[in-house]
């Protein structure tokens, strides 16, 4: 039984290992930090969020300040898929962001059917916005006062 934990990570409950969902590579013990099995790269944020304003004219260019912020990119050591992009001040310890109780997880999935592709939930917030916009358009354009918009 494998449980999908993120877009790129799953936990194999039988072996208690973190696995890559793209290539099946085993990252390490599910009772430990999955990041330990990944490769990490300290990315200058200006390479991703490029300066849009001329750096010769301005110090602030829409790029993050590399002295304040770095991007830690985590790659699967087998297929090179980027599993996480963590924004941190220089030198800040990486976060142990997922720490699950594996025994409880096994118990929880004992009677559940394995899920190989995650279901997509309804985007209710967006639906509400769209409904509101439709209502608004109706209100402003369909009230029959002869206005032309």
């Amino acid at each position: 039984m494998k449980v999908l934990i993120t877009e790129y990570l799953r936990i194999n409950l039988d072996t208690e290992q973190w696995e890559c969902r793209r290539c099946g590579h085993v990252h390490g013990s599910a009772r430990d930090n999955y990041k330990k099995g990944l490769l990490v790269y300290d990315r200058d944020p200006r390479e991703i969020h490029k300066p849009l304003l001329d750096p010769k004219k301005y110090a602030r260019t829409y790029s993050p300040d590399p002295k304040w912020c770095r991007i830690l990119e985590y790659y699967c050591s087998s297929c090179g898929t980027m599993v996480e992009a963590e924004y941190l001040p220089p030198g800040h310890p990486p976060l142990h962001d997922i720490e699950l109780d594996i025994d409880a997880l096994k118990l929880q999935w004992k009677d559940r059917k394995e899920v190989t592709e995650p279901t997509v939930g309804p985007d209710l917030a967006l639906e509400k916005v769209k409904n509101n916009r439709a209502l608004h358009a109706e209100h402003h354009h369909g009230h029959g006062h002869g206005h032309k918009h």
Binding site: L4, I5, T6, E7, Y8, K35, G37, L38, L39, V40, Y41, D42, H49, K50, L52, L53, D54, Y58, R60, T61, Y62, S63, D65, K67, W68, C69, I71, E73, Y74, S77, C79, G80, T81, M82, V83, E84, Y87, P90, H92, P93, P94, L95, D97, I98, D101, A104, L105, Q108, K113, P118, T119, V120, G121, P122, D123, A125, L126, K128, V129, N132
Partner: protein
């Protein structure tokens, strides 16, 4: 005096203290309890008798319709700009002051904080012979220390008596804006103590026999920059609540007391039950997220918000310990009750939007914080720009809850990256072209880009982070009322993207100037100029940093008169790089700006931001990359460098094979440059924050709080249980 007092003496002592309390300040017993009160005797009796679920549903529908009607009245008649686009709520509370339901389009945050002042009235004024609570009374309130989002919001609260018995409370709240603070518009980043924040109304009676007391109204009008607004909206809220009262009374006439009281309580208890059921569906464990705020709106400094969410069975604990200390003389603090209200918003906006909008969703959640931290600030500190940590609270859930919810077989909403979480708008004040004094803020605050989803790009400029029901308003109305002229508006901010397999929704540019006023000015209050704010999910990147751009020392109207082609397109990047207006002083600044005068025709420019991206950029479908190019959302160098796509620039035809090869090579390059985690950490991790950066909050240990400001040689480490507020120079 002796140490051991008898029970009788203790009762006497307690009574003496209760009768002689010097000041009924914000009451920790009320303000630190976000959960439902236990059933009252009346509620318990009614629920034990049992209710007909069909009737409950029917009554709930009628209450909803009544709340909706009262909401619509405020929306249509309210004079505040906030009222026009829906920054308001109407609500109904149990007799004890638990907020049972809000209007379907009301701002969610209010559902989790408007009950505090009602509880204050119930506790203090009902039995006070100098105040009392009678039929026809109405109470006003705006001080967030007694409950509320922030002090721009004013409430009208009214008890509903039926056959002589207090059955429930009703209220209307509007973001009025102006409140007489040291800067116009009600959200002064310049406030250095709570006494700079303008009028602070603890809950008091301002209506008797359903009529406003003119003496008090006059006092309030005197206390703010917009006396017309103050009067008009007090009337609007009063009459909206009175209409609500009529409708609820009709429900009581038709169905009886028990049906109404039972429905309110059942609604609360059912919601709490459903929350616990959903929590149980998630895996047990802990997920964590860090948020870094990079400005006090007066200077750049990093403030960390640390969050660990732990699920155990049907318990969910949010642990914010390790967060930055409060500032004693900066406005970006919040009290914990307002912070919790924003958390409720985040849950209902981004995690489980299908749940009823009531305080009961937060009720079963345990929240831990360090006293005197920036999210649990107390004492004399100002909190007029509490929006900064509050907006963070709105999205704090998004990333860690996605890490819990991804595995759950039943999804109640989409898995989504962070929405852009800054209050990107112009706050304004001064003399209008009609000669009136005013101060408020613009409705284009409501265009935060949506985070990317697990199955699709985020929607552009979807809504504010605090309410998907808010509209971005009509600039034309704003231009009629104020001297603000929009030189550019709602044009999507090209290349400012949260990249990913799916990209975040983008924000729009806002370019403003003033015309026809002798005295006008703007302020802005956003973080994220150095450290990006909206976080990506599962390998998606965050949004970029954003700046405040200015062109001062010119009058654009004069320049356009002289040469109508001097600026052909009001596009921020072009204006700043090409500098087409001669003699202009062009500058790029932090997005936090205290009130500044804008001479006629000077230009101020900001952006709404993008939501975070989802997934690995090199998994993005090349067809989607071409679509973004076609829609002019992105430049070619970004398409190539970020998404690693090979295509023909003229035809936008993708070379599939070459793209596949390029992406395969890129994966190899990643493997070559990445280092194993442990080896990386040895070189990367430092024992303390970088010495040259002002840094506030924990570092490697959430029990130790750093306060470091090189500007004044401050460098202390405090125990998290004994945080002292920090003074900035």
């Amino acid at each position: 005096m002796h140490d051991n007092i008898s029970a009788e003496e203790q009762v006497l002592l307690d009574k003496f203290l209760a009768d002689n309390q010097l000041w009924l300040g914000p009451d920790p017993e009320i303000m630190r309890n976000h959960s439902l009160t236990p059933r009252s005797k009346m509620e318990d009796e009614i629920l034990k008798q049992g209710l007909d679920p069909h009737q409950v549903h029917h009554v709930r529908g009628l209450i909803n319709a009544a709340l909706s009607e009262a909401f619509e009245m405020c929306n249509q008649m309210g004079a505040a700009p906030g009222a026009k686009w829906g920054d308001l709520v109407t609500g109904i509370y149990t007799a004890q002051g638990d907020l049972a339901m809000i209007a379907p389009h009301g701002i969610i945050a209010f559902a989790a904080c408007c009950f505090y002042p009602v509880r204050f009235i119930v506790k203090n004024w009902i039995d006070d012979p100098t105040v009392g609570v009678r039929d026809g009374d109405g109470f006003i309130h705006n001080d967030a220390r007694y409950g509320g989002v922030h002090n721009t919001d004013q409430s009208m609260m009214m008890p509903l008596f039926y056959k002589g018995e207090l059955i429930c409370w009703l209220s209307a709240t509007i973001h009025e804006g102006e409140n007489g603070a040291c800067e116009p518009g009600g959200m002064p980043a310049a406030a250095e103590s709570k006494y700079d924040e303008g009028i602070k109304m603890s809950p008091f009676k301002v209506v008797e026999n359903f009529q406003l007391k003119r003496d008090l109204v006059t006092f309030l009008q005197n206390s703010v920059r917009d006396p017309k607004l103050q009067l008009e909206d007090m009337k609007v809220k009063l009459h909206a609540v009175m209409r609500l009262r009529d409708r609820i009374t009709a429900i009581l006439d038709q169905f009886g007391r028990d049906a109404l009281v039972g429905t309110l309580r059942t609604h609360l208890e059912d919601t709490e039950k459903e929350m616990r059921r959903r929590i149980r569906e998630m895996p047990d464990g802990t997920t964590r997220v860090l948020q870094f705020m990079d400005s006090s709106l007066r200077e750049n400094c990093l403030q960390k918000i640390s969050l660990a969410i732990t699920v155990k069975g049907d318990r969910l604990i949010m642990d914010f310990r390790g967060t930055a200390p409060q500032f004693m003389n900066r406005a970006v603090n919040t009290n914990i009750a307002s912070f919790k209200a924003a958390l409720c918003t985040g849950l209902l906006q981004n995690v489980w939007p299908d749940l009823p909008h009531t305080m009961a969703v937060l009720s079963p959640i345990e929240i831990l914080s360090d006293r005197n931290s920036i999210i649990d600030a107390e004492g004399e500190m100002p909190q007029a720009m509490s929006l900064m940590p509050l907006f963070k609270a709105c999205v704090a859930w998004t990333i860690p809850m996605a890490k819990f919810n991804y595995s759950v077989p039943t999804k109640y909403s989409a898995i989504i990256a962070s929405q852009y979480d800054q209050a990107a708008t112009f706050i304004y004040g001064g003399l209008t072209q009609h000669g009136d004094v005013t101060g408020n803020f613009c409705s284009d605050i409501n265009g935060n880009g949506q985070g990317a989803r697990s199955h699709a790009d985020g929607e552009h400029s979807i809504s504010p982070v605090f309410g998907f029901m808010c509209d971005s308003g009509e600039h034309e109305i704003n231009e009629e009322d104020t001297p603000i002229i929009r030189l550019g508006a709602q044009r999507l901010a090209k290349d400012r993207i949260g990249f990913g397999k799916y990209r975040g929704g983008m924000g729009y540019e806002q370019i403003a100037t003033a015309r026809g006023s002798g005295m006008w000015g703007f302020m802005t209050g956003c973080e994220g100029s150095k450290f990006p704010s909206a976080q990506g999910l599962f390998g998606g990147y965050s949004c970029p940093s954003y700046q405040l751009l200015k062109i001062k020392g010119i009058n654009v109207f004069e320049e356009l008169r002289k040469n109508p082609k001097v600026v052909e397109v009001f596009d921020i990047v072009k204006l700043m790089n090409e500098q087409p207006i001669p003699g202009g002083k062009y500058s790029s600044n932090d997005m936090g700006m205290t009130f500044e005068l804008c001479n006629e025709g000077e230009i101020y420019m900001i952006c709404q931001g993008a939501g975070g991206g989802y997934g690995d950029v090199i998994e993005r479908d090349p067809a989607l990359v071409m679509k973004d190019l076609q829609e002019d959302l992105m430049s070619h160098d970004i398409a190539r460098d970020i998404y690693q796509v090979v295509y023909d620039e003229a035809t936008l035809v993708v070379d599939e094979a070459a793209t596949q090869q390029r992406r395969a090579d890129y994966r190899k390059a990643r493997l070559a440059r990445g280092k194993p985690f442990d080896q990386f950490c040895k070189a990367w991790v430092t024992p303390e924050p970088p010495k040259d950066i002002p840094y506030f909050g924990s570092w490697d240990d959430t029990t130790k709080i750093h306060a470091q400001n090189p500007a004044i040689g401050l460098n202390v480490v405090m125990d998290a249980t004994q945080i002292q507020g920090v003074f900035m120079p």
